[in-house]
Structure formats: C-alpha cells, structure tokens
C-alpha cells in the first residue's frame, strides 16, 4: 500500500474534524458580528452633537467653534475603531487577542474565546460599513412616507426599511461570508485546530504536502454551498426593486 493510500482516510477524517471547528468559528462569528455590525453602523451614522448649542456663536466666522459645535463624538469614535480594525491585518488582531492577555499577566484566557473576539470585532466593522451603505441607499422618500402615515421610527425601520436594506446588501454580504470561510484558516496561527492546522500537521509529521491542497477542496465546497444559498436568497427578493 502506497503512502498516499495509507494516509488518505486518516487525513480525510482529520480534515473533517477541522471542518467542524471552521464551521463553528464561521457560525459564531456571524451570530455575533451581524448584530454588532448593525449597532456599529448606527453608531457611525449617529448625529449626536453635544456642543451644537455653540452653533449660534460662530456667526462671525469662527471656524474653531464651527468645528466643535458640529463634532459628533459617537460617530467619530466608531469611525476610528473601524479605521483601526480595517486598517490592520486580521492576523495581527488574532495574535493580539490570543497572546496579548498572557503578556500583560492575565492567565487562563481561553484561546478559542480570544479568536472569537478578534473575528467578531473584525467582521462587525466590515459588516457595519455594508449596513451603512444599505441603509443610506434607502431613499429619503420612504422615511417621509412612513412619517406622514404616522408610523413610529421602530415600525419604519422594521416594517419598511429593513427588507430593502437586506436586498441591497446581499451581494456584498455574500462576498464577506465567503471571505470569512477562508479567513478562519488564520486561526491556525494561534493553535486553533481548524482545517488548515490539521492539513499542516501532516506536513510536519509525515512529510507530505498534498493534504494542504486537499484541504482546499473543503473550503471550495463550503463556499460553493454559500454561493448557492445566496443566489437563492437573491432570487427570493427579486420580486421587488
């Protein structure tokens, strides 16, 4: 029996085990990052300006007062957060959350929890920008129609705006979901035993490269299923525009 035949079953089983972990990271990330992303997008669109009362004072053209009175702290802080998270590698964030607590003396932090924090935060920031785009794409007339029909802001959002936002964001969301499937591979750098870690394990112990390429098929199938689901979803919402 050749080495390949000998290893095929154990490799497959091991990769399937890794797939379970990959799937877990994927679903947990979505579960937390989608609602968090929505909250972050609301934050980035927040119009709260606590110094607005200074507005009357800059009639003489004082630019500094104009800037302060228009300062929106929530929106500003959220934009900084999104900038930092999107502006640095996810790998770096994984290492920061995975190893950072130990460095400053916090012991016993679960590595998986650390990975989840990094993934959720990272993806929530990307999602927030997609949500923002989707929400801003809903014409102002929709809000005005709701307003003159006496609907509350909550009713307006959930009964009228939300489904239109969902329709707008399906294509970019499909992209993000697929990217996430492959980004889970980064977790192997801090000892999370997902697909890629399991494939690399054979590289080290049995000196074979093919399990790594074989693992690509698992990602490919995963993404293929997602693509089909997204296409169905898109079709389902194609009855309106």
């Amino acid at each position: 029996m050749s080495k390949f035949q000998e290893l095929f079953i154990p490799v497959t089983l091991s990769l399937l085990e890794g797939l379970g972990v990959t799937f877990k990271i994927f679903t947990l990330t979505l579960l937390f990052a989608l609602p968090l992303g929505l909250i972050i997008s609301f934050g980035s669109m927040s119009k709260w300006a606590p110094f607005k009362f200074l507005n009357g004072l800059h009639k003489n053209g004082n630019k500094l007062i104009a800037i302060i009175s228009n300062f929106k702290p929530i929106s500003f802080l959220i934009r900084i957060l999104v900038w930092v998270i999107r502006g640095t590698p996810l790998m770096l964030q994984l290492i920061l959350f995975g190893l950072g607590p130990g460095l400053i003396g916090i012991k016993g932090m679960n590595t998986f929890v650390a990975v989840m924090i990094a993934f959720v935060l990272n993806y929530a920031c990307y999602f927030s920008e997609i949500f923002r785009g989707g929400i801003e794409a809903v014409p102002r007339g929709q809000y005005e129609a709701c307003q003159v029909l006496g609907m509350t802001r909550t009713q307006t959002f959930f009964k009228v705006v939300l489904l239109q936002v969902v329709k707008h964001i399906i294509p970019p969301m499909g992209n993000e979901f697929i990217t996430l499937v492959k980004d889970t591979a980064l977790a192997n750098t801090i000892m999370i035993y997902e697909i890629t870690w399991n494939a690399k394990r054979f590289m080290a112990s049995k000196h074979v490269l093919w399990p790594l390429f074989y693992s690509g098929i698992f990602y490919l199938l995963f993404c293929g299923i997602l693509t089909v689901i997204f296409r169905q979803f898109e079709k389902k919402l194609s009855y309106f525009d």
């Binding site: 014409p139 007339g141 929709q142 005005e144 129609a145 307003q147 003159v148 029909l149 006496g150 609907m151 509350t152 802001r153 009713q155 009964k159 009228v160 489904l163 239109q164 329709k167 009855y239 309106f240 525009d241």
Partner: protein, 259 residues
C-alpha cells in the same frame, strides 16, 4: 370656522428665505390649488404644514385648535408629532410606495400598525383587521385598482402607482389631503387618470390642497387658487379671479409663460 388657518408662516434654509409671512385659510370641503414657478416655495409650504420640515416662525391652526406653533421653542414628542401627522395626508410627487409590499399591503400597512394601539385590539383582532382590509379594498376599487390588489409597485404604471399612493393616504381618513405635484412625475398621457381621481374626491367633498402645474385642472377643480412667487403669496382668490383676471403683474407674467 376654518378647517385650516396658517398665520405668519416662515421658513429659511440657512440664509435662503423660502417662505415669508404666509397667511391663508380654507374651509372644510374646499379644494385649494397652489401654483407658482419652481422655487417659489409651494412644496416647502406643503412640507411645513405636514411637518416634514420645521417652520421657523408662525402658527398653524387645524379645526380652530393650535396645530403647529413654530414661534415657540417647545419641541413636540415623537408621539405628539405622530398624532398630528395622522390628521393630515400627503401624496408625494414620486409616489414613495413601499416596494416590498403589494398594492393592498401598501394601503393596509399603516392602519394595521395603528390598530395595534387600540384598547380592543387583542379581543377583536380578527374583526379589526377584516375591517381594515375591506376598507382598503373599497378605496382601491374607487380609484379603479380592484384588479391590482396583489400586484407589486414595480409591476404598475406611474399612474397606477400614484393612485395606490392616494388610496394609501385616504385609508387613514385624514382631515385634509395634500398633493405635492401629483402628476409631475408622470407621462402626459397618464396625468388624466390622476386628475380624474382628484376630481372624484372633490365631488365627495374631501378637503384638499394641491400643489400643481396643471393650470386648467386647477381652474376647474378649485374653490380657491393661491399663486406663490419668491416665498410669498402674491395673489389668491377664486379660480376666475386668479387665473382669468389676475391683478398682480407677476401672476400675469407666470400665466403668460405657460400659455
């Protein structure tokens, strides 16, 4: 007693004064048309009365009661605003139908949400929803859309969309129904069907204020015509007075340009 009384209403966007000291009133069952060139402030006037814009000064009375007080700095709570808004109806130039709901759902959505606040909603839910649906169907029938209840907005012509939007506003039984250039987004051959519906509503003595460019229509349907120019009411009176024998040179110039 006037159903609507607008006094000293003013509005500015930054330094641009869009409405200056607007005063007018109307009686229940009347149809008032507002004409004027674009930028004259007529749409802003409508939006201020419907609270889509905050006026900067003046008072509006509805049924003799203070409705909007733009002179006071007191802000209305969202709840108060909603109650006020429900007594008025507005038909937009570009329809603003809800694309994900079919024709019937577009008309019943707001009444259904409103019904949830009724004290007898839990015990009489079925009956209430049935009443709302029947009411919506009969309004849609009156604007000639009985065949289209299940259609989605994207499957309708512009004229049909605008009729749905009229039905949607009517379903809440507003004290006054406002139209913001209801035919301006329509192909010329479709304006007729909208004007016919408005004429029909006028015959039912629904109180209406219509911002329009259709002078002939304004002449035949209105009890009163207001001509606005540069943020002020330049002339107002019966259709004959304003449209056939205008006294103000600006009204004369405006009408001349159109004919």
């Amino acid at each position: 007693m006037s159903i609507l009384n607008v006094t000293n209403l003013s509005k500015h966007f930054g330094k641009l004064q869009v409405l200056k000291d607007i005063n007018f009133s109307m009686e229940e069952g009347q149809v008032v048309s507002i004409i004027g060139s674009s930028g004259s402030g007529k749409t802003t006037l409508l939006r201020c009365i419907n609270m889509l814009e905050n006026a900067n000064g003046g008072k509006i009375y509805l049924d003799g009661k203070l409705f909007i007080d733009a002179d006071s700095s007191v802000k209305y709570t969202p709840g108060q605003l909603r109650t006020k808004q429900l007594s008025l109806g507005l038909v937009f130039q570009d329809f603003n139908l809800f694309p994900q709901y079919n024709v019937l759902e577009n008309v019943t959505l707001a009444p259904r949400l409103l019904a949830k606040e009724r004290s007898d909603y839990k015990t009489r839910k079925k009956e209430i929803l049935y009443e709302i649906e029947e009411n919506a169907k009969s309004i849609l029938a009156s604007v000639g859309l009985s065949e289209k209840l299940e259609s989605y907005p994207c499957q309708l012509s512009g004229g049909q969309k605008q009729r749905v939007s009229i039905a949607r506003a009517l379903a809440l039984k507003p004290r006054i129904l406002f139209f913001d250039e209801p035919t301006s987004a329509l192909d010329p051959e479709l304006t007729g069907e909208i004007l016919k519906v408005i004429r029909q509503l006028a015959a039912e003595h629904i109180t209406m204020i219509i911002v329009t460019h259709e002078i002939d229509f304004a002449y035949s349907v209105s009890d009163k015509v207001i001509f606005m120019d540069k943020g002020v009411i330049a002339e107002e009176g019966t259709p004959d007075e304003v449209l056939k024998n205008p006294k103000n040179p600006r009204t004369q110039a405006f009408l001349q340009k159109l004919s």
